[in-house]
């Protein structure tokens, strides 16, 4: 630990000692670099992102590197996960014929996001990588580029714009207004909400867990022990809840990605 670092949270800071509650905030999501190359700071979330990739690849490597007709345990679990995304999301939203091509992308996306979320409650990691907007933004950007380019590839330049802007002659006079709304809604707001939905959920969840954890420690003094107990119960409850939310958010993220791709492929928007 270098000299310019201080603990955000003093271990001796408890209630009734005149020490204020060290509430978590934006600083909770900031890390000192582990190492720095030039202007590039390598931080813990980055390490977790790379480790997450290795975990996902490692798991599927163990499951699918030498697949057998009669699956082993790992393969069985891998197949269940694979089938969940393939049948449960991609085929369901895009359809089997058109969706086939996007299965690897969506499977990668789901498990990547899920593991990034899951770091939140893994001991020692204890940080959801997706609570930094850059990571959901990177993924949302890939999805955005995918569906926009797909729209123009499928419908041509004019047809692509018609598809995105929801061009429909029967709307008559309000058509320009609709097109303006669709433009903002689809091209500008959509990628933003796609990324922010995931980011905000993970951000808020992490904040809650940290808040109750800090409170548990802070309250451990005198009468405060009673409240500390309640706060600790909340840590457990929130951790369990986060486990659920992490999977749901990964699911929603991929579901929306599929829905965008499906919209790009559809004849009428």
């Amino acid at each position: 630990m270098s000299a310019d670092q201080t603990l955000a949270f003093d271990p001796d800071c408890h209630i009734f000692t005149g020490c204020g509650f060290p509430a978590p905030g934006l600083h909770t999501f900031m890390y000192e670099p582990i190492f720095t190359v030039g202007s590039f700071d390598f931080t813990k979330p980055m390490l977790l992102a790379i480790l997450g990739s290795i975990v996902v690849v490692g798991f599927f490597w163990a499951a699918f590197a030498k697949p057998k007709l009669i699956p082993g345990k790992m393969q069985m679990v891998g197949e269940a996960g694979y089938d969940f995304v393939r049948r449960g999301i991609v085929y369901e939203i895009i359809g089997k014929k058109d969706g086939q091509k996007y299965v690897p992308f969506m499977v990668s996306l789901f498990f990547f996001v899920w593991i990034m979320n899951l770091w939140s409650i893994v001991p020692l990691a204890q940080f959801p990588v997706t609570s930094l907007i850059a990571f959901p933004a990177a993924l949302a950007l890939i999805v955005y580029v995918t569906w926009v380019s797909l729209t123009f590839k499928k419908h041509g330049f004019v047809g692509g714009w018609k598809n995105i802007l929801g061009y429909d002659k029967s709307l008559g006079a309000i058509l320009p207004l609709i097109m303006l709304l669709e433009f903002f809604s689809n091209l500008i707001i959509r990628p933003f909400t796609h990324a922010v939905r995931l980011f905000a959920n993970m951000f808020a969840g992490h904040l809650l867990i940290v808040m109750f954890s800090l409170a548990t420690w802070y309250l451990m003094n005198g009468l405060g022990f009673v409240y500390a107990g309640a706060s600790f119960v909340m840590v457990i409850v929130m951790t369990a809840f986060e486990l659920f939310i992490q999977a749901v958010q990964a699911y929603v993220f991929v579901l929306l990605a599929c829905s965008y791709v499906q919209g790009a492929l559809a004849e009428h928007h």
Binding site: L26, M30, F64, A65, E79, P104, L109, F112, F127, F135
Partner: protein, 181 residues
Amino acid sequence: MNALLLAQGEEAQPPLIPHLDELVIGLIAFVIVFGFLAKKLLPNINKVLEERREAIEGGIEKAESAQIEAQSVLEQYKAQLAEARHEAARLRQEATEQGTAIIQEMKAEGQRQREEIIAAGHAQIEADRKAASAALRQDVGKLATDLAAKLVGESLEDHARQSRTIDRFLDELEEKAEAVR
């Protein structure tokens, strides 16, 4: 405890502005996952899933063909059984008929033999009766003549008269006997 570290002096970044370094790392991390899954691991499992599907379909086909074969064998067996039953019934019928014919034949033969024996018996009796009757006629004639001669005291040697009288007597006797019978 890293999560609880705060760099002093560093401004907290607005949470909605992506950090470029993190964005790049995020893209790299995802591309690693996508590369491995899309290029190697998912094609791997797709191949095996396809093989498994084929294996299962092949198994089903095999089972179906086995069932069809079993069915045909069963039908064959049933046909054979029916044929055998039919044959057995035919044989039984034949045996019964043959038996009946034999019994009939035997009966007819017995009847014929019986009649033959009876007829032979009748003929014998008739012959004996005739012989006895001839002998008796002769004896009775002689006895009667002798008796008459003794009674009359004279020889009734007149053969012609004598035999005429006796014959007439005997004929009368016969007529009487006929009448009685």
